[in-house]
């Protein structure tokens, strides 16, 4: 399973799910499902999210069992 810090970082930058979705070109539902770990984004989307949230992609997403940085 793919874990992530999208929700945490979205809160840090005070983005709503819609705002973040608009910035990376996806729907609010998609952001919600990514945050819950129920949808794994493509590399392209993961990179876009990492850019918007100003973090390295491997610090934003990591696989279960791997240590969170």
């Amino acid at each position: 399973m793919l874990h992530n810090r999208v929700k945490e970082l979205r809160a840090r930058y005070s983005f709503s799910q819609s705002e973040l979705g608009n910035r990376v070109g996806v729907t609010r539902q998609t952001i919600g499902f990514i945050e819950k770990g129920e949808f794994s984004p493509s590399i392209t989307l993961a990179l876009k999210l990492a850019t918007e949230l100003q973090i390295k992609v491997d610090e934003l997403f990591w696989l279960e069992g791997e240590e969170e940085e």
């Binding site: 840090r12 996806v26 990514i34």
Partner: protein, 171 residues
């Protein structure tokens, strides 16, 4: 998004199919076909006609259903000019293709429907070997269509039902 026509269209399809079932009953019972084998071996076919209330009801319901569905298309296209759908397109309106998750969801739903259809059609064909009123042949096909639409709707609904915006409340 729950109210998006592309999400709701399977329900509209089901409504249309129910009207078709009523129409099928009306037609098959308004124009019953009987045949017999004459003494000379020739097959004689008799088609009688007597309009029944089911046929009239189906026609009246269609007069309400079709303009209402057309209105929903117009309304949807007005509100979503970037995701227009057409009532007369070969492509079903229910495909969601806004982003990669929606495309994945559509793919999952169509895959489930395909799996269902691939066993339901041969099963239906086997049932067609049983002699029965032609109304029931139509019902079997329409029943498959209803199940197909329900499966599609419930699969898509899982991803769009959560309509509450989550603002940044992480602590």
């Amino acid at each position: 998004m729950k109210k998006d026509l592309r999400v709701q269209s399977p329900l509209w399809n089901i409504l249309g199919i129910v009207i078709l079932v009523i129409a099928a009953y009306g037609v098959t019972h308004s124009f019953p076909i009987e045949w017999s084998k004459g003494k000379d071996g020739a097959i004689e076919i008799y088609i009688t006609s007597h309009i029944n209330w089911q046929l009239i009801s189906a026609m009246l319901l269609s007069l309400i259903y079709l303009p209402a569905y057309a209105y929903k298309f117009r309304q949807h296209n007005k509100l979503n000019p970037q995701h227009k759908v057409s009532m007369f397109s070969i492509q079903p309106p229910e495909y969601l293709e806004e982003d990669e998750m929606m495309r994945t969801v559509t793919q999952r739903a169509t895959q489930k429907v395909y799996t269902f259809i691939s066993f339901a059609l041969p099963l239906a064909t086997a049932l067609f070997f049983i002699p029965m009123n032609r109304f029931w042949y139509i019902v079997i096909i329409l029943l498959i269509a209803i199940i197909q639409n329900l499966m599609y709707y419930f699969e898509i609904r899982k991803y769009v039902k959560e309509d509450k915006e989550e603002v940044s409340e992480f602590s």
